[in-house]
């Protein structure tokens, strides 16, 4: 046997913990495991596969790269065409797809490889495993997107702040038109929403993908479902422009995931006269509610269905 590894029959002879006649009657009292163990395990899992590195790197490159290109393009114009931090949207629209993929994969790769059976054999508390996955995934993606959005926001702020406002794009104007500032600037609320808000939004979207992956147990199924969820409401709304269906179309557009993201960048799909009224938090809350519902369904599914 030309094994690349050690001669097997030699190994048992070594006085390891299994060697000899150790009946170990005095085993220490077995402590039960807890969520902390599962979190450590999930952290090892998520950092030790390439798909994590790849999806997060792609997300980071898309958000910062496209953000930089957008800033360069906007900088060359005479006026500030967008809210100062708004240019981050375009990179994040693509970047969120990477997070969705990672969210689905975090669960479905265990099912497709069969690893889930090994995991559930080691830890039969299935809900604990799902909780640990959700926590680790959410924390990791939130931190990574926060880094990407913050860097992008800094670039945009450095390159675009202070540009004269276009007379036709008054989005940055304060509540009182008479107090209108002449140059583009980002309020602290805009900063908060374009960084923390967007990162929460995308991490929640990933968490929703993780729940959908748990429900469907299939990578293509999960990714397709999530893409549909993100893109379809907006696309469908484009076809509902006739008088009779306009209301439905407007609602679809307003509550679409894309609008949720866009609003956090202070560029809602529905034009608002008063820029100070633009607020991304409600749609973020809606996404959080949807995600919570999907997670509850995922918990029910994982605890009852055969692995």
């Amino acid at each position: 046997m030309s094994t690349p590894y050690a001669a097997p029959q030699a190994a048992p002879a070594a006085p390891g913990p299994h060697g000899g006649v150790d009946h170990r009657p005095a085993r220490p009292v077995e402590q039960s495991t807890h969520l902390g163990h599962a979190i450590a395990s999930e952290w090892t899992k998520i950092r030790s596969v390439r798909s994590t590195i790849w999806t997060l790197a792609v997300m980071f490159a898309l958000v910062v790269g496209i953000g930089l290109l957008t800033a360069l393009a906007l900088e060359s114009g005479p006026y500030a065409e967008l809210p100062v931090l708004g240019g981050g949207l375009f990179g994040m629209m693509l970047g969120q797809l990477a997070i969705i993929t990672l969210g689905v994969l975090t669960v479905t790769s265990e099912y497709s490889t069969g690893m889930i059976r090994t995991t559930m054999t080691v830890c039969p508390k299935r809900t604990r495993v799902l909780t640990a996955k959700a926590i680790v995934f959410f924390a990791l993606t939130f931190v990574m997107t926060l880094a990407a959005t913050s860097l992008t926001a800094l670039i945009h702020s450095a390159m675009l702040e202070g540009k004269p406002l276009s007379p036709y794009h008054d989005l940055n104007v304060g509540a009182d038109p008479s107090q209108a500032v002449e140059t583009a600037t980002a309020t602290s609320q805009q900063w908060l929403q374009a960084t923390v808000g967007v990162s929460l939004f995308v991490a929640l979207l990933g968490l929703l993908s993780l729940a959908v992956g748990t429900l469907l147990r299939s990578t293509p199924g999960g990714v397709t479902t999530m893409l549909g969820l993100v893109l379809l409401p907006f696309l469908i709304s484009l076809f509902l422009m006739t008088e009779s269906t306009r209301e439905l179309g407007d609602a679809l557009r307003e509550y679409s995931m894309l609008n949720g993201l866009s609003t956090l960048y202070h560029m809602p799909f529905e034009f608002t006269e008063d820029a100070s009224q633009v607020n991304g938090w409600p749609l973020l809350g809606l996404l959080a509610a949807v995600t919570a519902a999907a997670l509850i369904a995922a918990y029910a599914r994982i605890s009852t269905r055969d692995v």
């Binding site: 050690a6 097997p8 006649v21 077995e30 054999t121």
Partner: protein, 391 residues
Amino acid sequence: MIEAFGLSKHYGAKTAVYNLSFQVRPGIVTGFLGPNGSGKSTTMRMILGLDEPSSGTVTIGGTSFRRHPNAARQVGALLDAKALHGGRSARNHLLCLAQLSGIPKRRVDEVLDIVGLRSVAGKRSKGFSLGMGQRLGIAAALLGDPRVLLFDEPVNGLDPEGIRWVRQLMKRLAAEGRTVFVSSHLMSEMALTAEHLIVIGRGQLLADQSVKEFIAANSADFARVRTPDTEPQLREKLTAALAEAGGRVDPEADGALRISGLPLPRISDVAHAADIRLWELSPHQASLEEAYMRMTQGAVDYASTAVPGGQPAGPGQPPHGTPPHGMPPHGTAPYAMPQGAPFGAPAAPGGGFVPQPPQPPQTGFGPPPQGPPAAAPAPVQQPTSDPEDAR
């Protein structure tokens, strides 16, 4: 100690396991035998709480698996060598499992040493051979130093040296007082490894006895007798004479006779008295493999008794998990003779639809009827109830 009581599992209308009760005791290796698709893996998954039984219970150390506070310290399992993420290194795979059950990190290197994978610990398991995958799976099972170990087909894909290693490992683990439950579809392997056997076919218990008892009950001695080819009438004469003397005579394909129930000297005496010359008179023992084949064949038979006698339907599949119940007995005999049942064909007399218990009729050299009762009949005597009512 693993204890199953009336364990059943249905997948829709398909019955994978039916009313299985057994105990697996500590201190010995218990073999879990059955043809492919007989429900071994399903049973193992139910023991490990991965699949919920449709009815019945199974406990490990008196507690159902999913209730164990630290399962990995109690129970280690190898279910499928490829049940891991191929993109992860062997060490990281074991590390995440160790962390999950609060096992210190150094234990990972210890089990890597035990299975001899230390030198490839940093490599992604995607590139592992099946044998290396089995070793990694065994390493994962050993992580928690558990008292109960389950191995599903652990020697699959191993080379002879690896097989010997696994065999020794199992025996050593059992000698340390652990409960070791090993499934296999190879009787020959189990005869060497296990002390006790639990045999199932089509999801039902066929035998639950020690290997010694199994051998005693199932490998009946027989003699092979050959009369001169040139004088076929001698053969018929001898057949009649031996039958009269109380022996059981089965013709073999090449013209020889298989005699059971008579000692060799008696056969010689009978032949001499009848004035028949013999070209061959040799003692034989049916192998365990044959006994096992015969037994699992029995589990299949009553679903396919429609096979016309003497017409083995080709090298049929061994039983393949089709539910024993709710299946029309006049089915089209999806599987008939297993390749292993060698001399069998002609014996099956009536192609009738009789799901008659005791004798697996096809194989002509079955144990004499008065033999120990242990084996084949069991499944057939099971009530043929509707799968529905087991829920």
